[in-house]
Symmetry: C2
Subunit: 256 residues, 2 copies
């Protein structure tokens, strides 16, 4: 980090540019950093790492002040990061931050998470990246208990960096205070009972996504779900490389 200037951060999310969680993040980080915000122009929950290729992607500038520029993008969280880095910013940020998401992105939800899409896209670009999520889906969720932790995790990540092609998935339990942080692995979990009918007056087969997420290893104390269930902030280091290395060796005898 260059000592003669403030760190420069790119922020995005998947709940959209007006979401409380993103604006909490801006308020917490703007005193100590220059912020460039490129966020979707509306909710993109469940966007994962999806991107827009069939139609053009657009952005417009909502605020442009010293130390804070805010843009709204027509695309997904990944589009936001790509478009910011490739077109809208004229520098590389020191850190990319996603969130704060309204809802958990722990365990297998990492795959569906647009907030983690932000961090994974940053990691693919070789920039240290962190995603923050609070286990509370409500639009008016209270983010104030996260304040000191968000500042501290951002400062430490800026200080030590992250290896290329990795990022951090940080989840907060929905509590007023936390017992501390735990560096975790992703818990194995499973979604069941995923749909309920959504009857349409003209008939047809319409369904709402809902469901129950079951921790398949509730006794393992090194997982993100265990940490959250026990009052800790869960920091799960996450890799761009999704190769199943153990299986790779086994399969060499199957596919020759």
């Amino acid at each position: 980090m260059n000592p003669i200037r403030k760190p420069r951060l790119l922020l995005s999310n998947d709940d959209g540019v007006t979401a409380k969680g993103l604006n909490f993040l801006i308020d917490v980080l703007v005193p100590a950093a220059d912020l460039f915000v490129m966020a979707p122009d509306g909710p993109r929950s469940g966007a994962g790492c999806s991107l827009t290729s069939i139609t053009p992607t657009s952005y417009r500038v909502l605020r442009d002040e010293p130390g804070l520029k805010v843009c709204a993008c027509s695309g997904t969280p990944v589009d936001c990061v790509k478009l910011a880095l490739d077109q809208a910013m004229n520098y590389m940020p020191d850190l990319i931050v996603g969130g704060v998401n309204h809802g958990s992105n722990a365990s297998i939800n990492v795959h569906y998470s647009g907030t983690m899409g932000v961090a994974l896209e940053g990691a693919m670009k070789g920039i240290p990246s962190v995603a923050f999520s609070l286990c509370n889906h409500r639009p008016d969720a209270d983010f104030t208990p996260l304040q000191a932790y968000v500042r501290d995790i951002v400062a430490r990540t800026l200080s030590v960096g992250l290896p290329p092609h990795t990022c951090l998935n940080v989840n907060f339990p929905d509590l007023a205070t936390f017992k501390g942080v735990r560096v975790c692995r992703m818990a194995k979990s499973s979604w069941t009972h995923e749909y309920v009918p959504c009857p349409h007056p003209y008939g047809g087969r319409h369904f709402w996504l809902t469901g129950t997420n079951e921790n398949l290893e509730p006794d393992a104390d090194d997982t993100d779900l265990w940490a959250l269930d026990h009052g800790y902030v869960a920091i799960t280091p996450t890799a761009v490389d999704v190769t199943a290395y153990a299986l790779k060796e086994q399969l060499k005898s199957v596919f020759k």
Copy 2:
């Protein structure tokens, strides 16, 4: 696999239910398996593991014949798998197959791929899952060279199974014949020059996604990109667990 019946397969893709690659897959697999197809009602390229939660998801039945049922879904590839397993099918398939995708899903493209979204969702449900992709984006791409390989990889996967929470990402080079198959790891690569302007008559900032994918380790002969560049079919075993385990140990001294 139950010997008294044909294997039962769930098929989906991200190019949509009318895509040539999906219909090639149906033609290749229907003689030896009962097929349930739930595919998006239009193109969903770049859908990754995204899902639909803000609006309902719907499907309609297009064909219902002995051994072949075809449904079109309003949602993403992941929605297709979830809705098929939770609502539309009354049994669990022996195998889930995504594709054949029009275009490569090797290296980091796994994260953006709706075809791999199909396979990862299957893996999350504990069902052996395979995604097939051809390195040719054209709607009229020639899939015939893949025929024997697709049959063989499906048969072997049905026979040996896959460990829970893993799946296969199979990519074919755009060639008339292949040198064989190689079990690979994901290459490190990077997308650059990702956008070109798409001027709108009324102004604004509009861009088309494009870009160049650079292999960051071109000399490593154990990657999917190396295999494809050298005429081999690349089979990359892929994990649902994206924990960066080496980093997890390092970070324990940073976040205490």
